[in-house]
């Protein structure tokens, strides 16, 4: 669990409930002991700054290039993308999934919303999703599978062992997406 800033605890609670053993990652040493990484929501600019100041960026990039499974929600999705629009000009991404993401694409906080989504291949009905100043995906690469969209904009995507969502499954009391990540991608 990347724990530089943001909503780490709700993720830790969901992962623990599913029988995983989450560890908080703040330094390169912490990263050495994990098999897969969840990148939480929060401010992507802050996390990006802290990736550099903590010396985590290079080892994290190496692990991702090496195929470490990763699940990024909201800011975590922005960090994992290939390209970021409406970010800061110096905002560097980790390029773990071939998508272009627009920050705060749904608007400011007054536009934050909840909605029930149809998720491709997910049993058990619609997924109640919480969007907070959320980004959406503007472009997807060839090997990227879009699992859910809002008004035509992809909000849940998967490519290989990387899963990204613009919304916050950790705030929904619904464990299915974390379960999908743990069982199908990080196993």
């Amino acid at each position: 669990m990347l724990a530089l800033q943001g909503a780490t605890r709700p993720h830790v609670e969901v992962l623990s409930a599913l029988g995983a053993d989450p560890v908080e990652v703040r330094t390169p040493d912490d990263l050495n002991v994990v098999d897969a990484l969840v990148l939480p929501g929060g401010e992507s600019t802050t996390m990006s700054f802290l990736l550099d100041s903590s010396g985590l960026r290079a080892p994290l990039q190496a692990r991702l290039d090496d195929g470490m499974p990763a699940f990024g929600t909201c800011a975590g999705m922005i960090l994992l993308a290939t390209e970021v629009l409406d970010g800061r000009p110096d905002q560097e991404s980790l390029d773990a999934i071939d998508i272009t993401v627009r920050r705060n694409a749904f608007g400011r906080q007054r536009d934050s919303f909840e909605a029930d989504l149809d998720v491709e291949g997910l049993a058990g009905g619609r997924f109640h999703a919480v969007f907070i100043r959320a980004p959406f995906v503007e472009r997807t690469g060839e090997d990227v599978e879009v699992l859910a969209s809002v008004s035509g904009h992809p909000v849940l995507c998967r490519s290989g062992r990387v899963l990204v969502s613009s919304f916050h499954p950790e705030l929904s009391d619904d464990l299915r997406l974390h379960q999908l990540f743990l069982e199908e991608m990080a196993a």
Binding site: G6, S53, R110, S112, E114
Partner: protein, 297 residues
């Protein structure tokens, strides 16, 4: 239609959700777009747009009001992180203006001169989330019952002195711990003593924590101050005068951001504290003419 789900805005879940996203971060007071840029560059999770930082409000005296909308818009246009702004206690018209400007969080703040001596704003009536100050658990729960999505311990703004923030945090978190071991019958007495709604007291007994995120404000001036309040149990920090009244604001800002993330690691606090220059000049509580924390009911 899978592509057009019905959606709802302004729910308590999305309000509290933004507070959740700001955890482990630093919210910085800024008075110009240039300062807002410095704050964002330094890793702030949010900026509080103000005309004067609390230490200047304290020095100048007079009535302190909501900031000029032009200033708030200028700051909003400069940064990509959430922008907060302050309304006077009970001044729901100022809050309406801030909401219409698209501010991401409204701080119903004791730093400004209160507009109502009995009533706080009915925060349920708004789409924008609110943060409110508290000096003790009863005050925190009354604000939550009025719809606040985040609580910050008040401390004493504009002093650069951490002592009041520590007092308020210890009071709030200490009472939460005591409620955690109280039996059912004792919870009624707690609700009465705190002058707070019983269901919120019962919720604390069940979960062991406040129903919304709790941040710390009022007096944080150094990286070690941030580490102290985070170790005491705050989930993020507000830094008002502490950054832009210090000798080297960009460095102080970065250092406090790093200290907030690595608050349990003294070697990192030591590293970021080296050669930071002068922190803001602080004030002793006994010298104060006005205690801002006494405002709010």
């Amino acid at each position: 239609m899978s592509d057009q789900p019905t959606s709802t805005t302004g729910t308590f879940r999305v309000k509290r959700g933004l507070a959740e996203m700001l955890k482990g971060g630093v919210i910085m007071d800024v008075v110009t777009p240039e300062q807002a840029k410095i704050a964002e560059d330094a890793g702030a999770v949010s900026v509080m747009a103000l005309e004067r930082v609390p230490s200047d409000i304290r020095r100048d005296g007079g009535v302190a009001r909501m900031s000029d909308p032009a200033l708030i818009e200028g700051i909003k246009a400069t940064v990509t992180i959430p922008v907060m702004a302050k309304a006077r206690i009970g001044h729901f018209a100022e809050a309406q203006v801030l909401e219409s400007l698209g501010v991401d969080f409204v701080d119903e703040s004791e730093v400004l001169t209160p507009a109502d001596e009995a009533h706080h704003i009915d925060k349920w009536a708004f789409t924008v989330p609110f943060v409110c100050g508290a000096t003790n658990l009863g005050e925190a729960l009354r604000r939550i019952s009025e719809g606040a999505a985040m609580i910050r311990s008040k401390g004493e703004a504009g002093t650069g002195n951490i002592v009041e923030a520590v007092r308020h945090l210890r009071s709030i978190l200490g009472d939460i711990r005591k409620i955690g071991v109280a039996d059912e019958a004792e919870l009624f007495e707690w609700a009465k003593r705190l002058q707070a709604p019983l269901p919120l007291v019962q919720e604390i007994a069940r979960t062991g924590e406040l129903p919304v995120p709790m941040f710390c404000a009022g007096g944080i001036a150094t990286p070690a101050d941030a580490s102290l309040v985070m170790q005491l149990g705050a989930q993020s920090v507000f830094v008002g005068s502490g950054i832009f009244k210090s000798e080297d604001p960009p460095r102080m800002a970065r250092a406090i951001v790093e200290a907030t993330t690595h608050f349990r690691d003294p070697s990192i606090i030591a590293k970021v504290s080296k050669g930071l220059g002068e922190a803001m000049k602080g004030l002793e509580m006994a010298q104060l003419e006005v205690k801002l924390a006494d405002r709010g009911w």
